[in-house]
Symmetry: C2
Subunit: 372 residues, 2 copies
């Protein structure tokens, strides 16, 4: 067994480790056991992940004398709502838990987000551990303590900042992912290059084909690098009063698309963010910040790997720029009516702006709606 | 206008003031305005309180140029559930709020608890202000940051530690309270005497008749004294890892009664806590900690003012000590199966114990069930 790489997210008494490597789920007890206050966990997973990864996890826990019980939710973004949260916390309480019981989120971003939120509010806060099994969850949502659910008014509008006690990112889990899921997660990988690491973007251009074919070394490097970038940004700004907003590159546009389509399989979160990042660079180009050549390079890379760059197949004649902008105005980052955008002066040169003219946003959206 | 007394709850960057006095709602803008990030609040109230106090509050805000919108919930403990929370946060989001919008809880304990919890989870946390209008809320629930809702599994099992930015305890609001509500709140007042202040218990014995007749000076003194005691205990132990548990005197028994009766008008929270405190002293006497004379003095005072001291009129032949104990085992304070009890060596000499034999608890409950 190869040793995992260990990153540390430094947040004072809420600090925790992020382990990236192979064979972590099968050896989970070794890492989890030292953190438990009692030899008992409740695992939350979904009906896609549980058939593959629940038994390896519970076997490891059993062997270490850790009692585990599992709650299995329906897979998919549709599960991230108030009704499912109510059901989940009721089931958790029904198992007769105590404040020292630990939850384990075994699954993708939806499972991590809803389980983390359930941990935040059950008995006013119990410990939880993230075992992300999708690429998106490993490189983004499992790290940094953003938990929550969606509402009819938008995505992640209800939730808490609540940090896990440990993140176990087992790259073996990525081997069983459908390519579409892997690709959607890859959008969040390449995001770190676009934010502030042009060398990593170049690495992505060179190594994406291997990564998307499931090459373990490429996956391990990308997950490690992504978690490192995220940990650095989050430790400097846990509650997103400043630079953490950079992680939302592509998200203002992306969330508007998801709200318009409805959360589900038609448009995966990572796919929306991929299109959103292209739009953010198009907007940056429109207002003279960024060369068209840079935008073209991003489009070319996305198209080469198969990431969506347009609304082709999504939008129809009922869509309008105004409607998409109205979705944006419900974003959490709105302040005194002004919407935060992540703009860029080039690849790896992004920044937060609240000075964007909505006329420019509207033209960017109209061009995107005309293009396909 | 007389100046309010100001207490400070010291919790570092989460510190806030508790103002106790007359005419605070009519002059609310004076105190609220300096804390707002934008000239806008959303007021949450109920259909008992709003007809009396909403207009004085909004008039004050209007005159200061602060825009306010109101959401009115049905009054009563039945509102403190998941469905009502879902409705409340949806309405809040439907008003198009931003992270800098402030919620104002105008009402009793239920309104404060659910509004505080909504503030904790909306956009992952927005500011809120407590304007408690019941005696119970003024002396207990509005101070200290415990927010939450009830579930079928028990009371306040879902929630967050989330501090308000200000507490405005206007004793004028107590003048319109039904006597039963005032008396239920009084149980939490006398609790502070029983915990660690025998002089205050003696003050209660002498001044309860005036207080319950609505004497403003007696009410003002009792609210100030109670908030002072609570602020002192909470500032030393915000998240209840130790001495804050003293505030639960009577609550382990009381919550079990509430769970058995069902949350509602049949047994108010304060009434349950009154009976629970008598039971806690009976238990303390049973295990040789406390003289029967002390228990008798408490019973005599409660009976003199009209607080329930027994299960008379509540329990029927379907009740059992085992069933009540099973409710206790779902309490948040359970640790490795052991239930925390607040015991006492006498009036004003209470302490936290995890060593209580359940056989003693059972006999205490059986005696209470036999007595009526």
């Amino acid at each position: 067994m190869t040793e995992p790489t260990t990153l540390s997210l430094d947040l004072g008494e809420r600090s925790y480790d992020i382990l990236v490597g192979k064979d972590l789920i099968r050896a989970a007890a070794r890492y989890i056991s030292p953190l438990l206050h009692q030899p008992r966990v409740i695992i939350v997973s979904d009906n896609n992940v549980a058939p593959v990864w629940l038994e390896p996890l519970t076997d490891s826990l059993d062997q270490a004398g850790i009692k585990s019980q599992a709650i299995i939710l329906p897979a998919g973004e549709q599960s991230k709502n108030f009704t499912q949260l109510d059901t989940l916390v009721s089931e958790i309480l029904g198992l007769g838990i105590e404040r020292k019981t630990t939850l384990v989120a075994l699954g993708g971003g939806v499972i991590g987000d809803i389980t983390g939120f359930a941990a935040a509010i059950t008995l006013r806060g119990i410990d939880f551990i993230q075992i992300p099994t999708s690429l998106l969850a490993q490189v983004d949502s499992s790290v940094g303590g953003k938990t929550g659910i969606n509402t009819a008014h938008g995505k992640n509008l209800i939730g808490a900042f609540y940090q896990p006690r440990l993140v176990l990112a087992d790259t073996d889990a990525l081997g069983t992912l459908p390519r579409r899921q892997l690709l959607a997660g890859y959008a969040e990988v390449v995001k770190y290059g676009l934010i502030d690491d042009p060398d990593f973007f170049a690495w992505c251009e060179n190594n994406a084909p291997a990564l998307l074919d499931g090459d373990p070394d490429a996956l391990g490097f990308a997950v490690h690098k992504s978690c490192q970038a995220k940990a650095r940004i989050v430790s400097a700004d846990e509650r997103e009063t400043g630079q953490r907003a950079l992680l939302n590159l592509g998200h203002t546009f992306g969330h508007a698309l998801e709200a318009e389509v409805g959360y589900g399989d038609k448009l995966l979160h990572g796919e929306a963010i991929g299109i959103g990042m292209v739009m953010a660079f198009e907007l940056s180009n429109r207002i003279g910040l960024c060369d068209q050549g840079e935008v073209g390079r991003i489009r070319a890379h996305f198209e080469a790997v198969g990431l969506k760059t347009s609304l082709d197949g999504l939008a129809d004649s009922s869509w309008s720029a105004d409607q998409l902008i109205s979705h944006m105005s419900k974003d959490k980052k709105v302040d005194a009516g002004s919407i935060a955008f992540i703009l860029a002066r080039g690849i790896g040169k992004s920044f937060v702006s609240r000075e964007v003219s909505m006329a420019d946003v509207k033209v960017t959206l109209e061009r995107a709606l005309d293009r396909f």
